[in-house]
Amino acid sequence: MGKTIAQKIFDRHLVNKPFGDEINVLRLDAVFCHEITTPIAINDLVSRGKDRVFDPTKIKAVIDHVTPAKDSKTAEQGKILRDWARRNNIKDFFDIGRNGVCHAIFPEKGFVRPGYTVIMGDSHTCTHGAFGAFAAGVGSTDLEVGILKGVCTFKEPKTIKIVLNGKLQEGVYSKDLILFIIKELTVNGATNMVMEFTGPVIDAMSMESRMTLCNMAIEAGGTCGVCYPDMVTVDYLWPFIKNDFASKEAALKEYSQWVSDADAEYHEVREYDVTKLEPMVTYGNKPDQVKTVREMEGAPVDQIYIGSCTNGRIEDLRIAAAVLKGNKISDNVRGIVSPATPAIFSQALAEGLIAIFQDAGFCVTNPTCGACLGMSNGVLANGEVCASTTNRNFTGRMGKGGTVHLMSPATAAATAITGKITNSPLFKK
């Protein structure tokens, strides 16, 4: 019997199985940290007299959730992370001016490689599986042990294989695809499972689109989303790995070990032809409550938010700007765009995208997670509705009493112009 990519990564990283097949203790290649879930772990380590890290080169930290700090409490959280990074010689620490949304900036810096094990105190850590890695969100205690010992526990990685055939129509994106998949699986359908995305639709996707797809695996309960590494992966990583390999082909050959065997055992295999998939949007307050934009067209909104670890990358800003170019947003809405990293911001500036957003009437913020979870930079008032490119539409997520509709950047931009949920002109049907 062959093995899945997750099983292969587990095999390579297994430290031991202290209770038989019940639990695997894995060695970690990377531990990512941000200022919301890490400070409590740091404080606990300090109070135990264990203020040290297993390997400072494998720990990466960023202040991203509330930045710049909005009050004394968030300033203190930033300070705890900053001081800790300094004392423990963590060189890859990204403070204000160099900071971006964790799941955008860490891949951008080349910190995730095929075959890696990655944890972070953040549920959207599943994003990094786009590189053919096993990456999982954990709580502060797992994070604390990861920081101290470089290990984490996981159950056997059962996998749901999702084969995506056909070709996405113009104006339909990986966000629409993942909303469709979550609708199919439900919010509890992939609990304790790895979600393996494969097929011609994935082969044709950019790394940015694959990250959007894997980012929302957790919304179906998935431990990690994963795509096989291919030449798209190698091209993305090439600036960081060019000294390690004689050629891109050599890198691809090395990374090809991180692909599931043809006879691997799956918990479930699902196959879809997504050629006719339309732009999708959530209603209600669970990410599996999904309809086509066509079905939801005309529903009024108050705020548009384009950004986050799901859809704040350069590809997303290009798509939204293509829709907004030459248009103004409706007088009935306010628009906020938050490029996910400084490099994305600079690129958007150089390409003229920032000017398009501003001319349309958008507020452009610095890179931060803020609005997505109602912490800063775009919190909703009671009864307000946001058209958002983020990943969660839970009740009160972006502000107490607020409602969130999740959608692609194209749909969000089109919705900004009309003030009502609207299909983008990029979707021709």
Binding site: V15, P18, F19, E22, I23, V25, I36, T37, P39, I40, N43, D44, R48, K50, H65, V66, D71, K73, T74, E76, Q77, I80, G121, D122, S123, T125, A136, G137, V138, G139, S140, T141, D142, E144, V145, L148, K149, V151, T153, V187, N188, T191, N192, I218, G221, T223, N285, K286, L373, G374, M375, R392, F394, T395, G396, R397, K400
Partner: protein, 174 residues
């Protein structure tokens, strides 16, 4: 070990997420105790009032996929500082479940039929539940009604509860 016995809070809904258990705006608190007044503040459940319904409870009984969404360990912490160290459900979101045991608390899965029975027979009554970790038995009682349920608690999870959490265990073993 923590206390695993007391009055029961029945939450008759599936997919209760960690944003509902403790909203993100309180994640700027740096002490667990500060989370106490905000537990389940945003829970969408008809008839539920967090100000009156949580006090004095030690066990939650709920439906499927409890604790889905964010990885915030603030969710178990908010339960813990309110004296709730056990949740019984059909199943749990992976991260929430692990966080509970990592804190020396318990997230126990019961078959849907047993959860249905608990709601049907005990919800709305002055009900008490006790978990006997060593025997893996849950005792449910209200007035003259009483049930004992054999449950599965994995050896690793037991070990974490006994050790007081994952940091203690990992520090000794890795």
């Amino acid at each position: 070990m923590k206390n695993f016995k007391g009055k029961v809070l029945f939450l008759d809904r599936s997919d209760i997420n960690t944003d509902e258990i403790i909203p993100a705006k309180y994640l700027t608190e740096s002490s667990k105790e500060a989370l106490k007044p905000f537990l389940l503040e945003d829970l969408e459940l008809a008839g539920f009032n967090p100000r009156t319904d949580i006090k004095g409870k030690a066990v939650i009984v709920t439906r499927a996929n409890f604790g889905c969404g964010s990885s915030r360990e603030h969710a178990p912490w908010a339960l813990e500082v309110n004296g709730i160290n056990v949740v019984l459900a059909e199943n749990f979101a992976r991260i929430f479940r692990q966080n509970m045991y990592n804190c020396g608390m318990m997230a126990i899965e019961l078959p849907k039929e047993q959860i249905d029975m608990l709601f049907k027979k005990y919800s709305g009554k002055d009900c008490e539940i006790e978990v006997d970790l060593a025997k893996s038995i849950i005792t449910v009682a209200a007035g003259s009604d009483k049930d004992q349920l054999q449950v599965k608690i994995a050896d690793f999870d037991k070990c974490l509860v006994e050790a007081g959490g994952w940091v203690e265990y990992a520090d000794k073993n890795y």
